[in-house]
């Protein structure tokens, strides 16, 4: 059961003249993430006049509004009223974990050796530790469909590369400090790349372009190169 949200749980402040931020502390936690998700679900169902958009993040949800339709104080009051009371009997919509196939190492994960060396593990141990855990998608940001994942075992934490790579292929799975993530589109980046998924995390031509959303849980599954190629083919790319 989720404890009921009350207005003492968060602070409100403006982000410019057309957005309000609700901040639930400054520490990443599953319970805060759940609360933010409940608010998102609420906003998906009940919008209000002057509502424009919302952006959930680790401990914040930012709501964009039209100040000529609804004024800031009234908006804050209304959000307070609506949000306190969410929780208790509100069940978070259950989602089963999404499996992300990954081909680790070699050409697809050129930094797997770096991570193993840095963490004084064998590459097989790094892979085992990486796919043993279940990860929570805390938020999507930085690039279309890019998931910020929580839950990585700190035994495989590795600092970013000193010089970022000019181009990292879409689907690359990497480690940066205590975080792991997947690059949805080809982009420059400094993460240590340990593998690649054949799934498309972002495809604008799909009905739902982003594969993952905040609140999803995922597991990595190790696949062979043959399986990797097969899945890639089935996904039509």
């Amino acid at each position: 059961m989720i404890p009921k949200i009350n207005s003492a749980d968060y602070q409100c402040f403006p982000l410019g003249d057309s957005a309000i931020v609700l901040e639930f502390g400054r520490e990443i936690s599953v319970s805060i993430n759940t609360r933010i998700r409940l608010i998102c679900e609420w906003l998906d169902e009940y919008t209000f006049e002057g509502f424009v958009d919302y952006v959930p993040a680790f401990t914040t949800i930012t709501v964009y509004y039209e100040p000529w339709v609804i004024n800031y104080d009234k908006l804050e009051e209304m959000l307070d009223e609506m949000i306190s009371g969410i929780g208790e009997e509100d069940e978070i919509t259950a989602r089963s974990p999404i499996e992300i196939p990954v081909l680790y190492g070699g050409h697809y994960g050129p930094d797997l050796d770096v991570v193993a060396r840095q963490c004084q593990l064998t590459t097989a141990e790094v892979i085992r530790i990486h796919h043993a855990a279940e990860y929570l998608v805390y938020m999507i940001g930085f690039a279309p469909g890019f998931p910020y994942l929580g839950g990585m075992d700190e035994r495989i934490a590795t600092p970013r590369k000193e010089t970022p790579r000019a181009l990292i292929p879409a689907g690359s799975v990497g480690i940066a400090g205590k975080q792991t993530g997947i690059y949805p589109i080809e982009t420059p980046g400094g993460w240590q790349i340990i593998g690649q998924t054949p799934l498309q995390l972002f495809n604008i031509d799909r009905e739902v372009p982003a594969l993952l959303k905040a609140g999803d849980r995922i597991r990595f599954i190790s696949v062979t190169e043959q399986e990797f190629i097969q899945i890639k083919k089935e996904n039509g790319h």
Partner: protein, 318 residues
């Protein structure tokens, strides 16, 4: 029937008011840099404000019209001409089939907007016509116009209807020579040293050459945080001023990422985004701190003026 692109210009992209509702998936809003100019342009030709228009940057394109059209050019003065004859801005214009619209010397501002009556026939991507250049989607094939492209009109205009010897009353569009950008405090202003905060509000900043639709990197006093704090990523928006460790502030513009992790020292008020959108690399300006209440007054006033303009124009097209 539509437009044949004889020359694409420096950066000409289809834009609208932005792609909202998908920021939670990390999808960038995009849309016109100078939203006010696009909105007025659309109103002038009798369109809804949200219709797609062409954003034209500094060196404009050459566009051959395959059909009669009613158009309007707003925003920066980039010396528009029809068949070589200079034409006025901020008013509806008739352009005849077989004519070419071209642009010349940039006189004032950075971005001009072309609206056509009825709008361009562009496929909607996630509910918007806006081009997102880095994502390669939206607008015309997700990219800037180039020679040989064609843009279709949604409908062909009745060329002879309605008198069009009138001009928009421009008291709602700011003087582009203004060199004060009004801001309100950002959520992390207290992470900066007193000297940095003072420098931010008193010294001049120059727009560097690292300035595009994503954001403008500024040059001037470097700003320092008092404590190196590991901030958790959170939402950023059009006009957010964030400061990376190196100290040069960055103003996020229309193609900004949805979230960021740098301290946000201030936020440009919505009304002054037009001024910023019309500045060029090398332009120098100062920031001026105002209250949220004042920012709201200004924005509400502007929306009222736009509404009035809309009513006046609707009357003319009746």
């Amino acid at each position: 029937m539509g437009i044949k692109v004889l020359k694409g210009g420096l950066l000409s992209t289809i834009q609208d008011l932005g792609r909202f509702g998908y920021q939670k998936d990390g999808i960038v809003v995009s849309g016109a840099m100078d939203l006010l100019a696009l909105r007025i342009g659309n109103l002038l030709v009798g369109n809804a404000e949200s219709e797609a228009g062409l954003e034209i940057t500094l060196l404009g394109p050459s566009l051959f019209f395959e059909a009669d059209q009613r158009i309007a050019i707003t925003g920066a003065d980039l010396s528009p001409a029809i068949d070589g004859m200079p034409v006025g801005m901020w008013r509806p214009l008739r352009i005849a089939k077989g004519s070419t619209l071209s642009f010349g010397k940039p006189i004032d501002g950075c971005r001009s907007y072309l609206a056509v009556s009825g709008g361009f026939d562009i496929p909607l991507v996630l509910n918007s016509y806006a081009t997102y250049l880095n994502g390669k989607f939206g607008g015309h094939e997700g990219r800037a116009l180039k020679t040989g492209d064609t843009l279709s009109f949604k409908r062909n205009n009745q060329p002879s209807s309605g008198k069009i010897n009138w001009k928009a009353d421009l008291k709602l569009y700011p003087d582009l020579k203004t060199r004060a950008i009004r801001v309100i405090e950002g959520p992390e202003i207290n992470l900066f040293s007193e000297e940095s905060i003072a420098a931010f509000f008193t010294s001049e900043f120059r727009i560097s050459t690292a300035a595009d639709r994503m954001g403008y990197r500024l040059e001037g006093q470097q700003l320092k945080w008092t404590a190196s704090q590991d901030l958790l990523s959170s939402a950023v928006t059009f006009g957010t001023i964030q400061v990376p460790a190196q100290g040069d502030p960055i103003i996020l513009m229309a193609d900004h990422q949805t979230t960021g992790g740098y301290p946000r020292i201030a936020q440009v008020i919505s009304c002054d985004l037009t001024l910023l959108a019309q500045m060029r690399p090398g332009d120098v300006f100062k920031f001026e701190l105002i209250t949220l209440a004042r920012a709201h007054e200004l924005l509400i006033l502007r929306e009222q003026q736009l509404k009035q303009l809309k009513q006046t124009i609707a009357f003319k097209y009746e």
